[in-house]
């Protein structure tokens, strides 16, 4: 072990991106990626709490087997709207639009994204999509499930399907523009010396995510248009009574919506790579494997949509191919988990809040990923599809994975973003409470699911009550755990301890400028002469994993 020599940025000037300009107009018309990230942060937090409120209503209803708290029609709207808000207006934009927006330019040494105006436009598009969706919710709501399955959505539902669909349609463009901006920025605006293989893995993850956003989102846009077209003008596309094919909708829908799962989880994996490396002061084990596994996930992710259709009368041979590919897509995720774990070997691990979130992520994501294998496995999926097992599985990925990564990242970069420290003790406490609450909420659902409890049930047979009581208890703890960071983050913006430029003593580019950064990010354009996560000089590198006499070199 050698003592740290970390880069000390110059004495911060009083001017930074937050106080460089004042007034509402300076925020609403800003082209600064950092300010836009904050605009996004505020908006997605707003939607997160609406979605959370719906989750609370779901858990309250399911406390007892009878449908006694809400009416069936209301309950159906509540779970639909929980899904729509959480997926399209929180999870998909969560990390890319906030942390990604803030950090992609900073981590590669750029002054801003390639298209600052388009970046602002994407936020306005997101807002417009949000307003249209909220209109749909207030006007009467939507009850199709977030999956909008036909012909229920096109012919039978008496709710605001087209308005909700329009909101998602509009919102999709904000996603496409963000992806476009990231790809161009990463290709063209890297600082001198910042080669592809010197990029932090957060950037690789965002690159892979952006590819999915650009290639996948247009498909959901088309699908929603076709749905609206059939609903409004009664032209047969999906409804068999009009000559359409209802299963076609499911193919189109999942062609986007399965890759969308990777839009949610890949950025989070990028955050975890940062946290694991930086809080153990170690280069990531198998950097290139972790980087390429992100790309592999993005590519394979487009080929597995059919595993959502194993029980729809899809051909058994198609089912077998989709099952095989679904198992294949699990491998890059497994590679990441093994490499993160190996990174910790002989490292120097701190127990700061972001690291606790990262460690929690690895455990929860392992369970989430492994239970995905149950659903990729044809015969077991036949029994499990549309049960609570599926609900538990995707919450392990989206909350245990995506949300834990988001919260970990938010804590990690909070000093950089706001120039203030959050209270460390409360931070660790919240990580613990969220971890416990989360597991208590969703572990029982795996058992309930295998026992046969179908999802989207307003009332259920009494033998499932014990699992639902546990879930509701867990959800209360989880909800409480979420409130803690919400409170102390807001508190810290005014009262938190002032953060140093490099409070964690790290080599990454974003830490080589003041906190909060100046509008142009860096006083002088940095020149990169080091590898990613280079805490110590390369000549000290130790080689492990020798099984034979020969030494290996990477």
């Amino acid at each position: 072990m050698r003592p740290i020599e970390y880069y000390e940025p110059p004495v911060p000037s009083k001017v930074n991106y937050i106080n460089a300009q004042y007034g509402l107009k300076s925020w609403l018309l800003t082209k600064d990626h950092k300010r836009i990230a904050l605009l996004y942060l505020g908006s997605i937090t707003f939607f997160f709490f609406i979605g959370g409120l719906y989750a609370l209503m779901i858990r309250l209803e399911l406390l007892t087997p009878q449908g006694d708290f809400l009416q069936s029609a209301t309950y159906n709207k509540v779970f639909t709207q929980h899904g729509i808000i959480m997926i399209f207006f929180f999870l998909i934009p969560s990390i890319p639009a906030t942390l990604g927006n803030f950090l992609v330019p900073m981590m590669i040494g750029a002054k801003d994204l390639a298209f600052p105006r388009i970046n602002l436009l994407s936020w306005y598009i997101y807002l417009l999509g949000g307003v249209v969706t909220i209109y749909a919710l207030l006007a009467g709501g939507v009850d199709t499930g977030w999956t909008f399955y036909t012909p229920f959505s096109t012919t039978f539902s008496n709710s605001y399907v087209v308005a909700a669909g329009l909101g998602i349609f509009i919102n999709g463009f904000s996603s496409i523009l963000t992806g476009l901006n990231f790809i161009v920025t990463i290709h063209t605006m890297r600082a001198p010396g910042m080669t592809w293989f010197r990029m932090p893995l957060f950037i690789w993850a965002h690159y892979a995510t952006s590819l999915i956003m650009i290639l996948g989102t247009p498909v959901i846009a088309i699908t929603i248009l076709l749905l609206a077209f059939e609903r409004i003008s009664r032209v047969g596309i999906f409804d068999p009574a009009l000559g359409g094919d209802p299963i076609l909708f499911q193919h189109l829908f999942w062609f986007y919506s399965h890759p969308a799962v990777y839009i949610m989880i890949l950025p989070s994996m990028g955050v975890i790579s940062e946290l694991i490396a930086n809080f153990s002061r170690k280069n990531i084990f198998g950097y290139s494997f972790v980087a390429f596994s992100s790309l592999a996930i993005a590519v394979f992710g487009f080929l597995v949509w059919g595993h959502h259709l194993f029980v729809t009368s899809q051909s058994v041979y198609a089912g077998m191919i989709f099952s095989f590919l679904s198992f294949a897509v699990a491998i890059p995720s497994a590679i990441k988990v093994f490499n993160w774990t190996a990174t910790l070997y002989k490292s120097s691990i701190s127990y700061d809040t972001p690291m606790l979130y990262a460690l929690g992520f690895i455990g929860l994501f392992t369970i989430g990923g492994m239970t995905g294998l149950f659903l990729a496995s044809l015969a077991v999926d036949v029994h499990l599809s549309d049960t609570y097992f599926v609900v538990a599985h995707f919450h392990y990925i989206m909350v245990g994975g995506a949300l834990m990564g988001y919260l970990g990242g938010l804590h990690y970069w909070w000093p950089k973003i706001t120039g203030r420290m959050y209270p460390e003790g409360w931070g660790r406490f919240s990580a613990l409470v969220i971890f416990v609450g989360f597991n208590l909420t969703f572990l029982p659902q795996f058992v309930a699911g295998y026992l046969g409890m179908p999802r989207r049930y307003h009332a259920y047979p009494p033998e499932f009550q014990v699992f639902n009581v546990l879930s509701t208890a867990g959800a209360s703890i989880l909800g409480f755990g979420m409130l803690i960071p919400a409170i102390y983050f807001v508190w810290s913006m005014r009262y938190g301890k002032r953060a140093e430029s490099n409070p964690w003593h790290l080599p990454g580019l974003e830490w080589r400028t003041q906190s909060p950064p100046p509008t142009e990010n860096f006083e002088v354009t940095p020149i990169v002469t080091w590898e990613a996560y280079e805490f110590a000089p390369a000549e000290e590198t130790q080689v492990v994993g020798k099984f034979g006499p020969e030494l290996e070199q990477i």
Binding site: R2, N76, D143, P151, V311, I367, A379, G452, A459
Partner: protein, 328 residues
């Protein structure tokens, strides 16, 4: 509520233990890897905790051997899961030819079922132990899903087509029937029960429900009233329209030169949309019956056509009346 928490639902079909075995294998592997990762993680986190604030560990180069190892091992394990799951799936969705058929029509929010012998049931299905049962299912409105957890099987019930589900019950008892595909307001009320009986009891139950017209007999009546006979012949021997007798399950040549297997779906389509696939040698003269026949009636007509023996001899499907009406 039970005093203990079960890990698997009731097992009542030949699939149950097969799916459970695979489930336990998957659970075992999941448990093993979750515990392994957690244990290694916890060990590292304690063993390599930061001891002094400014220490820097030596960097470690990656290892191609390790990467290969932890790519190949998970892949091999995943392939065993894939192969095992695919084998059972193949069995689940390839119905045997010698099964007893039951017709199922789903609608918001109820299950309508009819046995080949004519007995109708709503939200209930009586089946005997040890006989293969094949459900031929369709929906009047939206997509539903016929799910029997105790049988470890389910299949979507899709409007506009027939889907099938088969099982062989092993243990008498009453089991849940759920609709597993969200179908609107009262989705969670679209439930029922599967009553599995000893074959003897089942025969008693069947004979206790007397006076039912079999689907095939009802279909024959519809065949007459809808005027099918004027073109397809009184016994399906054909005429201006193609022969119906004995064609079920066979392959027939189409006008376009393609050939098609005559199954439930093809017959249904030919009634609702006759121009779609015309048999070679015939003109597009048949009118559509869309809107004139319900899904229940379509099922009956299909059952009638299936019952016609080759050659078009006169054959009247007998109504299922009980020879011994006093058993129950």
């Amino acid at each position: 509520m039970q005093s203990w928490i079960p890990l698997v639902p009731d097992s009542a079909s030949t699939f149950s233990w097969k799916v459970d075995a695979l489930y336990f294998y998957l659970s075992g592997v999941t448990l093993f890897f979750t515990l392994l990762i957690s244990a290694v993680l916890i060990f590292f986190v304690i063993r390599y905790r930061r001891r002094t604030p400014y220490e820097i560990p030596r960097p470690i180069a990656g290892s191609h051997k390790l990467e290969t190892l932890w790519t190949i091992i998970p892949f091999v394990i995943a392939m065993t899961m894939f192969g095992w799951g695919a084998r059972i799936y193949f069995e689940q969705y390839k119905p045997p030819s010698n099964a007893i058929e039951v017709y199922v029509v789903g609608k918001q929010w109820m299950w309508k079922l009819q046995h080949a012998t004519g007995q109708r049931e709503i939200n209930q299905l009586h089946v005997p132990v040890g006989r293969k049962i094949k459900l031929i299912m369709t929906s009047e409105d939206v997509i539903h899903d016929f799910f029997v957890p105790a049988f470890r099987t389910k299949a979507d019930v899709v409007p506009g087509k027939y889907t099938t589900l088969w099982f062989e019950a092993t243990t008498p008892g009453t089991y849940h029937l759920f609709c597993a595909e969200y179908c609107g307001m009262n989705h969670s009320g679209m439930i029922g029960s599967i009553i599995v009986m000893e074959p003897r009891e089942f025969d008693n139950w069947l004979s206790g429900n007397t006076g039912n017209t079999t689907p095939a007999a009802a279909g024959q009546q519809l065949y007459q009233t809808l005027g099918c006979a004027s073109c397809h012949g009184a016994n399906g021997e054909g005429g201006r329209g193609p022969t119906l007798a004995g064609v079920f399950g066979k392959t027939t040549q189409l006008q376009t030169g393609e050939s098609v297997r005559v199954d439930e779906k093809y017959i249904r389509e030919s009634i609702l949309n006759p121009q779609a696939q015309i048999v070679a040698g015939f003109g597009p003269i048949m009118p559509t019956f869309q809107g004139q026949v319900s899904e229940d009636q379509l099922v009956q007509i299909v059952a009638f056509i299936k019952s016609l023996p080759a050659g078009g001899q006169t054959q009247t499907p007998a109504p299922a009346t009980s020879p011994t009406p006093n058993v129950k």
